[in-house]
């Protein structure tokens, strides 16, 4: 098994792990973290496409690599917006959850 295939399979496993965490974790920040795991797994899969596309004297295809760099920065920007939304939602509802029932419950914020 070549290093690039191994890295690609690692990426696939990371996507699976992230998906599991994204669905099951009740905490919104943990969901965001899991989503970032999925993202880095996808980047890794793209990375082996870059490695396989080695040609023209390069040991890699520079185009997918450049797009992954762009992707990492954009993923961070999206995460920052998600964090801002989560924080504001929690300040407003006084609850750290995405469960809509908790917000609509009368006096739900104070019932511990």
């Amino acid at each position: 098994m070549t290093p690039s295939v191994l890295a690609g399979l690692t990426g696939a496993a990371l996507v699976g792990l992230g998906l599991y965490g994204l669905i099951l974790h009740p905490h919104p920040l943990r969901k965001l973290l899991a989503f970032n795991l999925i993202g880095s797994g996808v980047f890794l899969v793209f990375g082996i496409v870059a490695r396989r596309g080695a040609a023209a004297g390069f040991r890699f295809d520079p185009v997918p690599q450049a797009m992954v760099i762009t992707g990492i920065v954009v993923a961070f920007a999206a995460s920052a917006i998600a964090v801002a939304l989560i924080l504001r939602l929690s300040m407003q509802s006084r609850n750290v959850t995405l469960d809509a029932e908790v917000w609509t419950r009368p006096n739900g914020g104070d019932a511990t």
């Binding site: 990371l14 699976g16 899969v45 762009t70 990492i72 801002a84």
Partner: protein, 317 residues
């Protein structure tokens, strides 16, 4: 050479193991720390894929800055009264999700094993870009980012600015124009202050070096800018500096500078060199370095503002 395959397997299992830890850890803080370690390990995988530029970006932005973002967010959430009500998912849901995740990962893995041969490649076009319009750039990644796919790179800077606008918009109305909350509420420990005082000057130098060397070697505007951003955040975490007010002119100018200079140069290329985003031959390299310099400025200001979050103080304070 026989050590490398073993090293690859060890590295891959470490990455998956740490990823498993970040998903299963009980505590949010432990999970974020796991994620930072995961990002650094992933950087090694990128190096093994002959992608040192991606490795630098992953280590700086993917693991470092994202880690600070999540730790700061966790601290701010922890200050709330009702932290994380526990709603444990049932066993059947767990099994169902596990099966779904395995199926998705399996399908992706199968697709990887069945990739077409010979693989499609844009490397010849990138090589032409490196020796053509982006003349004199020895780093093909920088040539792709600044010449072959320059429009993408400019739009990505605009995405950063849009994200900052989005984060600021989430703040309360009455706080508009004020400064974001400090990255650290309590008084910092003395070692943290010492670290910031000694690390920041060195880090700034390294950041500028990584940007400057990016034309010919691994590095570039993203990686250098992210390092400068990290140094600013370290000083903010040690409370040597507070986050600036969001209505500060210099802050907004610095953030817009990168894409603005990029766009103006691109339009000028349409007039002077014949096509949009074409660089005049001969002086392509200095022009590209100038654009990248302003991009570094934008990245170094936008990333910390994204981490600092929406304004929280009244403007009159």
């Amino acid at each position: 050479m026989s050590v490398l395959p073993v090293l690859d397997v060890v590295l891959a299992s470490l990455v998956i193991g740490v990823a498993l830890f970040t998903i299963t850890a009980r505590d949010l803080f432990a999970s974020v720390v796991g994620y930072v370690a995961y990002g650094l390990l992933l950087a090694f995988v990128w190096i093994r894929l002959y992608a040192p530029d991606v490795a630098l970006t992953e280590a700086a932005v993917g693991s470092g800055v994202t880690g600070v973002l999540l730790i700061t967010a966790g601290k701010r959430l922890g200050a709330l009264k009702n932290a994380a009500p526990e709603m444990r998912p049932g066993l059947s849901l767990k099994i169902l999700t596990g099966v779904l995740a395995t199926l998705v990962a399996g399908a992706l893995g199968a697709a990887i094993l069945m990739l077409p041969d010979p693989p499609p490649s844009l490397a010849p076009e990138a090589a032409a870009a490196a020796s053509g319009a982006g003349a004199g750039l020895k780093n093909p990644i920088t040539a792709v980012l600044m010449s072959y796919r320059s429009f993408d790179t400019m739009l990505e800077k605009i995405v950063l600015i849009l994200a900052v606008v989005g984060v600021w918009s989430v703040g309360a109305d009455k706080a508009w124009g004020g400064a974001p909350a400090p990255l650290r509420q309590s008084r910092p420990y003395a070692p943290m202050v010492l670290l910031a005082q000694t690390l920041a000057p060195v880090g700034v130098l390294i950041g500028i070096h990584i940007f400057w060397t990016g034309a010919d070697a691994p590095g570039g505007a993203f990686q250098g800018g992210a390092l400068l951003a990290a140094m600013w955040m370290v000083t903010m975490m040690a409370r040597l500096a507070g986050p600036p007010r969001i209505d500060a002119q210099w802050l907004r100018m610095a953030m817009v500078a990168g894409p603005a200079v990029f766009l103006v140069t691109g339009l000028a290329g349409g007039v002077l060199a014949g096509s949009f985003f074409a660089y005049p031959p001969g002086i392509a390299k200095p022009v590209i370095l100038a654009i990248e310099g302003f991009m570094v400025l934008s990245i170094a200001t936008a990333l910390p503002m994204l981490v600092a979050g929406p304004p929280s103080e009244r403007p009159d304070q």
